[in-house]
Symmetry: C3
Subunit: 245 residues, 3 copies
């Protein structure tokens, strides 16, 4: 363990082997941190909160939480979490392995996130969101949940495996996005988006099959499904499967 | 008082009874903090600034400022302020009681905010904004002010009581939004928005009376005015009045 | 030098004369800070990163980095940088003199920025962006780069001298914006935007010459080029030139 002298780490926190904790970081009581996880400076990890129902914050092993990040107690992350700086994660976020959360992103809690999901910078994941595996969400995207704000009716968004939501799009309350969908930049999605299709505009319309979009790298190959050509950051056992698909 | 040993608190600051101040937080000189207010970790409160004209930062009693937040000197908040994390509030913000400011929100100062206003996460309140009572502003909304940027002409936005601006909308310089207005998500508002109406689109058009929108909770009651069904977080003396409206 | 007792400053960092460093700020090894630069509290400056290829972070003299900001190693800023709070700047950002970066802005690195550029709050500058001199980017603008995300093809955005991108606009991958262009609020730009013109909408259309827009200060003078009437914050040798243009 390599805990900086200025870090304030509760004796009640369960800290794994080989964990590093940076300067001026606070680790609260109800926290479990997996082996070999690195936590940067100026973080606050495991903030107590009555909405957590006393559940602990569990961060899997081999994770990296970059500086100025804030996590509440009551969430669970499988192994290999990687965050940017100053992310905020509220209670009751249940996330699969190898999640990436970009700088400034705000996960509002009470949501379910699959394996190998990628949130780029400054995304806002509303409560009750259900996100599949291998989903990509790009900067300034908001997943909403209240059909007539403010109200007590929360209709979360559902996003299927391998789907992509491009920059500055809004997914409206209760929308259901299928698998392998591409939502273009600056769009808003209401209702259902069909698997394998491209949606663009505000309100978004179905434009074409995603497989019609060609790579702009000179190859003229289809750009979607993206797993055919984009493998950076995924483990070999995953990308090998993609090669056989 | 419960001031953490690592907090740096000016001897000139006026700190009320029962105030709590978290680790690694800085309280500058020209600050007055009301009784029983709680300030989280890693905050910077009362940053000196020549635009403040030497005015103090005054935070009312029973307030909660969550971690990593930044306030300049020269603003006044009535009792019961509650902020999320890493909010930024510049000088000459005058706000009524029980204001909520969500995580990452940025109040640019030189603005007036009524009682019981709710800013959700990541809103941007431009200078010269005038916001009534019981207003709701949802994530990634920007209130602008410069009709031909960059310039020295600042035309702030006005928003009437009980109005709601949904996610990722832009209110253009000098726009005036009446009372009980609903601005739909991903819209932009120019000019005047009539009281009691719904505006959607970019540029936004008047769609219908807000009272035409029905609750999606099975009741089929009107969703607006929202005070008829949404009371969470308001004191009883307020919601009792709403019941008689 | 005025380095706060709680600041953690590497002995390897090259710190100029008259530099001030605030409480709880961390300065890593591979950093050079120019004379008379002021760095606020809770910053992390010069984060090591293999993408920096070992290059140092160089901050010019007479700069001001406000609290909670984060810079990676491997970038270069000429004199007179001024940032808001909690900005994030990644490696291989090469910026000219007198750059302003507003609160919450996120510079993704691998980009080139001219002299006297102004980023207002919460802008997102994607990798491979090329930004000229005297450019203005307003809040919640995103410069993108991936034509079919996620992919390995990065087509950065180019923005010419004196151009202005208003609030919450998206500049799509590979777009080229000429000089003295005005992109209206809530727009999205694809392809080329002609010098001296106004573009509005999503997708944006050319509306008129920028010089057709009149100041709303009673003068009825053209609002663009903005250098004719807006001089605040620029040195006299620059504004004198503008008077002769």
């Amino acid at each position: 363990m390599k805990i900086h002298g200025t870090a304030i780490v509760s004796e009640k926190a369960k800290i794994g082997r080989g964990v590093e904790i940076g300067p001026y970081t606070i680790i609260h009581d109800n926290v479990k941190i997996g082996d070999n996880t690195v936590i940067g400076s100026h973080c606050e990890i495991g903030i107590p909160n009555h909405l957590s129902d006393g559940e602990e914050l569990s961060i899997g092993k081999d994770s990296l939480i970059r500086s100025h990040s804030i996590f509440y107690e009551g969430s669970t992350f499988a192994d290999g979490l990687a965050t940017g700086h100053r992310v905020t994660v509220r209670e009751k976020t249940i996330a699969g392995k190898n999640l990436q959360i970009g700088t400034l992103s705000d996960i509002q809690g009470h949501c379910i996130i699959g394996d190998f999901v990628r949130f780029h910078s400054n995304v806002h994941i509303g409560q009750k969101s259900k996100i599949g595996d291998f989903v990509w969400i790009f900067p300034y995207v908001v997943l909403t949940n209240d059909p007539h704000p403010p109200s007590n009716t929360l209709l979360g968004v559902t996003i299927g495996n391998y789907s992509v939501v491009a920059t500055m799009s809004v997914i409206l309350p209760g929308a259901t996005i299928g698998e392998n969908v591409l939502v273009g930049a600056h769009s808003s999605i209401k209702g259902n988006a069909e698997s394998g299709c491209v949606y663009v505009g505000s309100p978004a319309k179905k434009i074409c099959l995603a497989s019609k979009i060609k790579l702009q790298d000179g190859s003229n190959e289809p750009a979607y499904p993206w797993v055919k050509h984009f493998h950076r950051g995924y483990p070999e056992e995953v990308t090998n499967e993609w090669r056989c698909m």
